[in-house]
Symmetry: D2
Subunit: 329 residues, 4 copies
């Protein structure tokens, strides 16, 4: 894409966005997948800034929901869900840097029906949960297997949804915490942000040596909020370019695509996630695009874009963005 | 527009979407504007289903912020802000019905700089407020006067924003409450939803005889969340068609435009506003588009669209929508 | 009580806490009870500062739940619940003043079983509600009739609870809003604070001529949070002394009893209610007890007392208090 | 104490509440303190059910704030705060069990002024924070050093507060997460609950082999909510008895003292923490005290007690309790 050379990644990355080596992180190469994102697991791969990695991700159910009769409550054992590839070590990455992840493509893997959506007991935005504790009996457990290819998501006889894949979980490691892969937080994690698809660059704060990049949880498509608790989860072959930006201290992930820049907040309640995202966007506009802080605040009140990632996880995720055309000087 | 005859308003309205008489609710005809939305004020107009009303709305500052030196804290006296036109009585409207408001156009009124944006002390999403009480000194009070015409919002030398007007406050009266015009709730009110612009139809629950329609608070443009607390507020000439749908009991406002249907929730915390919106959308899809409830829930998890209205008012507003192309049978 | 002459009411009230005339606001004298608290209803009584009023309050179900078979969803018609006595006009009260209400006694009225507790569909802290919207079927509707006298609340064969009555709903009128009697807010309203019993003085902000005092919703006892949505609701004969403090501008209700002072916040989410209460307590300690603001903040971190009123109403209520022994100089 | 033999710990513990061996976990024996609570750290001690452990805890500032000039932002390096003793392995403890911790005593250690309270930038309930993101400048950073002995906390010339110590942070390890010691969650952690003092028993869910008990963060006293963000933090010698209850699966910590039982919830927003606590208390009353679920729910609405732990940490903590006198059959 023509905008890529102008991206922050290309302008400021160690590799200047140029691709060097290509690595294959197959299921076999990965071996053991991870259920927490932290500094305590064994690296699976060491790469240079600018390298490309082709990753075979497993779906969030780890492939165990093969038919509509495979109820998650039967075939899964919490907290062993949402398996992650990684950690991938990026040479030279240190606390205070940023790892940039450009997603080149996300392609379906495995046999159809590859896609799985489920209503899981005591999970989802319109259900009592472990956190929003209620006295109601659980909602029914329902599994939906869905054919997926690069042309569409064949939801029902009536409805075909567009294939708009994205990566649900992406992060470097926290400094000392090891956080289950269901929870998004300031490190990234399970953000479930539809913008994190092919053509996007995500900027992740590095908090430990090598960054320790984790990736997983591909979705063939997802609505804002991922309201029932799951997207069309599927196994993917995801190709990423990874670069390193030295000395860019950011407090939570940021994203860029051809048209906009977006700051990302994860917290509860949902207004706090939104506050984080908008404040970080203002700080970003001030620091790098010459905006006076109050001017940015007032202007975003006129043209800010909000994307709801998930509001079903232990933290909710919100992206606040502005179109690049308003950033040019 | 070609979709209008297929709209719910046209299919089910008493007037079948056909325009009958045209009324002019000028500033003079309005006389006294209202700061609460309730059943205790004198009707200013009585109309028939199908009538058109051309309304002269005042801006949310009631026109008192004429220059960048007119600080809101000096020229305004709370709670006398966000003046509303109305109440307009719709003949035949009764509790349990719906009043449909199609917005035909919103045009600027008055001299330039017509637009006003302000950072008001202790108001806004990134400021301590009366509700999110903090011990910080207030943020600075800043007024921004902006030229607005139907071609653009001239924000700064650097940035011209598109003219995308909408109505910030629209509602029928609650049954017994009289709610200040700053607060959105299940009756509607100060929703600040950018989708409520020309070409949209808003469906409002009727809770008292005649419905008692209020309208005001035009915005020349607004970002998601209205983050600093105000949009580009301006005086407008707004043309609406009003119809009546008998016996359609809805619990909060709904919206329709050419491409989508949207349910609207207003509450705190923000997740509750989102829950209201998504649940109502599911109930709507079940009741009128032949969707099984769980199918709707799971499908919205793949294609639902969330719009953040405001997250600065005493309640926050969220719209949850689905594209009409997925509703056809 | 010995502390009363030292109370703020006695020290600063127009009547200096002295009782003058006694009024009887019987059910008959009240006639029509009110379901909203606002400036639009007809005064039922005019009193002088220092007068005593003996009020016959109705229970929150308006006496319609006489047996355990009288389901609220059948015998009540929302929003016509929680009937209020008043408005009582206090001569001389003006915006910017405070009306002080000392509760002398709350005695049961009517035949036993006088007390009513109920699980009402889609209401209560552990149930999906209109605001915390869920897809679960409603919890069961259950009515519990309970004998109550001044010695106890005879909950079950197993458990007798102490008779510790309080007034659930107490307020002056908002300036322009008329707020249903289920909702607490900065004017007071349905706070459901167990501290608001005999021996307490509540300070209410006056926002309109005469103050327009409303009172109702007596509880024979109530736990913190009123978790199922209702207390032991009963009809009462409540005796109050009313005084007027001129020129004391407070932003939300405050309370005093023999041992503590307490500031009261009502909002959602619950942390915002708590923030309001604690901030107001700090401002109170600073303004009137010679505390440096930061000293008060840090000291309350060591000895502040939090009482959860309700967390079931449209707003939640929290009291933040400090023992008077720490306030002496 | 006479109630101890009747406690759940004594009735159901492997050691039946009887003390066996006594261990000394001095600062030296501890060596390296921990900043995360998880399964990845080296055990420091292995004990039998029934053993007593005398623990030398460090204060939350790790002793680095020695004078009022030692500003936390200067002498501390986030996230290396709130150091924990442990992990202590309890023989026989397995996932699905409970570790019971009876606190016998908490005594001050070190030289006076031993106590430290601080306002830390961007931390505290009435300050913008990393989560409740605001655009205000930080509140001032203030350190308060306080003399503490077993007779009192000498806050100021004007005020002496009672010495009412408790343990702020107590937990077994999560199964796979390693959670920083500032964050309370379903495993326990930084709950800051004033009830967790001498004479209390805390029941902690075991999620990994040996339980991996962590303890730290003693407070000489603390108000409800720990509103400024810190209590009177001090180094302590804390004596605990530890027992093991096999096969008692609990979803979050519970507490018992002479007079009440209490369930504990940690989450955001604060209503969710309260919901967790109350629901768990209802389930507890149903499972072990013969209460019908709806009876428990309705009765707690009349006599439940709520304690606010902290509402300043990444999660807020609430205890919901009922007096034991209502539990007897």
């Amino acid at each position: 894409m023509s905008w890529l050379p102008d991206s922050i990644m290309s302008r400021r990355g160690v590799a200047s966005g140029k691709t060097k080596e290509t690595h294959h992180l197959t299921e076999d190469a990965q071996g053991k997948f991870h259920y927490t994102i932290g500094p305590y697991s064994e690296p699976v791969l060491v790469i240079q800034p600018g390298d490309k990695v082709i990753v075979e991700t497993k779906d969030a159910f780890e492939g165990k929901v093969k038919t509509e009769n495979d109820l998650p409550s039967k075939v899964l054992q919490m907290p062993f869900v949402n398996p992650q590839n990684g950690p991938i070590m990026v040479e030279g990455a240190q606390k205070g840097d940023v790892i940039a992840v450009y997603i080149e493509s996300i392609k379906p893997r495995g046999e159809n029906p590859r896609g799985t959506c489920a209503m899981i007991p005591d999970f989802g935005a319109l259900s009592g949960t472990a956190l929003t504790a209620m006295l109601h009996p659980s909602l029914p457990e329902v599994v939906r297997k869905v054919d997926v290819d690069e042309k569409g998501v064949y939801w029902s006889k009536r409805v075909t949804l567009p294939y708009k894949p994205h990566i649900g979980t992406l992060s470097c490691s926290p400094e000392i915490d090891s956080i289950n892969s269901l929870t998004p937080d300031s490190h990234g994690g399970n953000m479930d942000l539809p913008d994190m698809g092919p053509g996007s660059i995500t900027y992740l704060p590095v908090r430990s040596e090598g960054g320790r990049l984790f990736i997983g949880d591909a979705h063939a498509c997802q609505g804002d909020g991922e309201v029932c608790g799951t997207a069309v989860e599927f196994s993917s072959t995801t190709t990423i370019h990874v670069d390193l930006i030295k000395g860019w201290e950011i407090s939570s992930p940021r994203l860029e695509n051809e048209h906009l820049i977006m700051a990302i907040g994860s917290a509860r309640p949902l207004e706090d996630a939104t506050r984080i995202a908008y404040r970080d966007l203002i700080l970003w506009m001030s620091a790098e695009y010459g905006y006076d802080k109050w001017d940015a605040y007032m202007m975003l009140s006129q043209c800010g874009k909000v994307r709801l990632g998930n509001f079903v996880d232990p933290n909710y995720t919100v992206g606040a963005g502005i179109e690049k055309k308003y950033l040019t000087i």
